[in-house]
Amino acid sequence: MPAATAAGGHPADHAAAPLLRLIDIDKSFPGVHALRSVSLDIHAGEVHVILGQNGAGKSTLIKTLYGAHAADKGHIEVEGRRVAVARPADASALGIAVIFQEFSLVPYLDIAQNIYLGREAAFARFGLIDSAAMHAAARTILDDLGLDYDTHAYAADLGVAQQQMVEIAKALSQNARVLVMDEPTAAISEREAERLFATIARLTQKNVAIVYISHRMKEVQMLGDRITILRDGAVVTSVLRDEMSQTEMVGAMIGRPSGSQLARTPRAPGDPILFARGISTAKLSDISIEIRAGEVVGLAGLVGSGRTEVVRALFGADPITGGEIALSGSRAPTTLDARVRAGMALLPEDRKREGLALPLDIRDNATVASLWRRFTSGWFSPAAAERDTRGLIAQLGIAAHGTHQTVRTLSGGNQQKVVLAKWLAAGSRLFLLDEPTRGVDVGAKAEIYRLIDQLVDGGAGVVVISSELPELVQLCDRAYVMRDHRIVGHLDDDALTERAILELVVHQ
């Protein structure tokens, strides 16, 4: 039987050398400088929170720490000794465990089997697993964490929070001394989160170091002994909890001091296009939103606050369990294809997986949503489609060799424009844009802004989701602010400022 309960060795001594040090870690991918000389000190028995937006470099950092990526420069030290972490197995051997957002549990193995996956040999007798011993060992670890789960339950039958706890148990069974948690509360309820925090407290008492990746200020304040803020792959600041206010932290995370705000030209919105009242889905509760013709409405909030779920529900991509949606005054059709025909358009956050057929060419992608409208008889004219596509390429300034270039070979900005072209051709009147400028170069960004202006001038309604506050404030006439899958505020006119959004996002 393995020493299941041994979770760390010596009592904490913060003045001594840190348990784990990352020194000047640098990592580039083609076109992206993901980590810029990042250094971190992680002490035993401490919760070290890493704050940052999506794309700040958090996941690259974890992967480097875990041996899934090799750093270009810099090195890692454990207890003052320089170590090589080339493979996940190396990290495990050093006592570094990561709990990913996507769990590494096998759905139809039970809890004990999952905890000891790949390490069954410890329980083998004559090649057969001593199931009782394995369950007993798993029981000890779960008891140690104060969990009363039946070790015979399948992972598939556990809730997200329970699966997470099993992941933690799995890490502890490998004598983890550093536990990295990647946004552990992203998909669990508040009560489950309380339980997680209690577990974290228990672990730190046992001298385990926790690296806690998050962008939720509340948790940072509650848990973090030390907080490091990452932005654009670099450490902005690393402070003790009481050294910085929440608003300052969010400011540092988002990167621009609230202040110099560009003047918006006020628009005169027309009639309501969409009116949603009390929408609930599996992931949302009580969302009410109104969008009028000729205005840009922002959906602000941190990643995971439910912004994407709102537009998906409005678009008909996720089933709604309550509430009602009206389009141009009458009840919205229920199916997604009927909503598209009624003038709705979605620019998904993940354009490669949800917006485009990458192996097909620009023409096929740009015309797909408008076939029903352009060719009402069902007969398709390649020549007409060709003309339309050339028009769209010109109108949107898509840089391509021609209409037959495969979409996969286009740059991010041009791919995004093809998705927009698809909906322009469909004559949509309500555009739901989920992070329209993510992964797009500066030039294309400006053109997308210009296009949004044109759409609104033409009487369309636009909803913009963005993690970049300056963008949101500049682009939108008003904005709904989301937190924890609800709308927590509505800002318009002069009230719509970066600081106001921040305060609503941060507010408890």
Binding site: A89, V106, Y108, L109, I129, A153, D157, L158, V160
Partner: protein
């Protein structure tokens, strides 16, 4: 989500009856129906007959369960059954010993299993097309070897084995039970079993745990083919002749048995005992229809309907348990 779903639990004693899949319900219904329709159905000879038929089907359906648990499929199992039987028969006719003939069939079967496994596990090609292709290869070789004719006249030792009994139990049933026991141990009491379930459920997790997942994946196809190849020996014992096309369609019944038993094509969800339930359900259906003098070809249609019924029952059950 936190409440355990009703279906497809492991066969624990208490949960057993609440967890009977659609196949179990249909099996009980059919048993009752056929007994009422013709009491001869429950005669001892007939029940032994059902057992014999179910045993042969099980020997294909049990390894098929492992393969389906990896989110795979083996359409070549039936063709391999025919080919392996032909190889054994031809080798015996050529004067080989029974052991050598079986070793030859075993070697060729595992080689084909390895071919399937490499293409599916390492090249990530879709299992149904790969095994459809190898099915063609196997059928072709069996036909070429025999010119399409049955091969007979080899040593009666194999038939003697098929007809022998262990105490009061006919040998095929003994072999099927032994195979079930062996695979049960493999699936639920060895590392490999966990890894099989993990391949279908979360292959990345297996890799992260430091296991050579592709090798395990390959091994499942090799093992499956090896079992099918050896089962062919029993099959040729039944009629004391090997027919190159005897196994065609057996893969369908085996897959139907596995799916009937409640094993899913996704996420490694399933149980070995489901194959037993499914194989029994299919055999009882066929046998009962035989007694009612329903044409054997129409029985295949009935299997299809049975399958859809079982899927609908399981779906409805899942729906109401939520």
């Amino acid at each position: 989500m936190t409440a355990p779903t009703q279906s497809q639990q492991r066969p624990g004693a208490g949960q057993f009856f609440s967890a009977i899949p659609g196949a179990g319900i249909l099996l009980i219904l059919m048993l009752a129906l056929f007994t009422i329709a013709n009491p001869r159905f429950v005669s001892q000879t007939n029940l032994v007959n059902v057992g014999l038929q179910a045993s042969l089907l099980l020997m294909i359906a049990l390894p098929m369960t492992l393969i389906i648990l990896t989110e795979g499929l083996d359409l070549s199992a039936g063709a391999l059954l025919g080919l392996s039987g032909v190889i054994v028969a031809e080798a015996l006719l050529a004067g080989w010993s029974v052991f050598a003939a079986c070793a030859m069939a075993f070697a060729i079967s595992t080689a084909f299993g390895a071919l399937n496994g490499v293409l599916i596990a390492y090249l990530t090609l879709p299992a149904f097309v790969v095994t459809l292709g190898t099915m063609g290869l196997m059928q072709g070789i069996a036909l070429v070897m025999t010119n399409g004719d049955p091969v007979g006249g080899f040593t009666p030792a194999i038939e003697t084995f098929y007809r022998s009994q262990l105490w009061i139990f006919p040998m095929p049933i003994v072999v099927a039970v032994a195979l079930y026991a062996a695979l049960w141990l493999l699936l639920y009491r060895t590392r490999l079993g966990n890894y099989v379930i993990a391949i279908g459920g979360n292959k990345d997790a297996l890799r992260l745990a430091g296991i050579r997942a592709n090798l395990v994946h390959l091994a499942v196809y090799v093992l499956g083919s090896a079992i099918v190849g050896l089962s062919a020996v029993l099959l040729i014992g039944r009629t004391n002749s090997a027919h190159p096309t005897v196994g065609i369609g057996m893969e369908f019944e085996a897959i139907a048995a596995v799916v009937l038993g409640g094993t899913s094509f996704e996420k490694g969800q399933g149980w070995l005992f489901g194959a037993v339930l499914g194989a029994l359900a299919i055999t009882v259906l066929r046998n009962g229809l035989n007694i009612l003098s329903v044409d054997s070809s129409l029985q295949v249609v009935c299997i299809g309907i049975l399958l859809i019924l079982a899927l609908l029952i399981d779906r409805a059950r899942k729906h109401y348990s939520r």
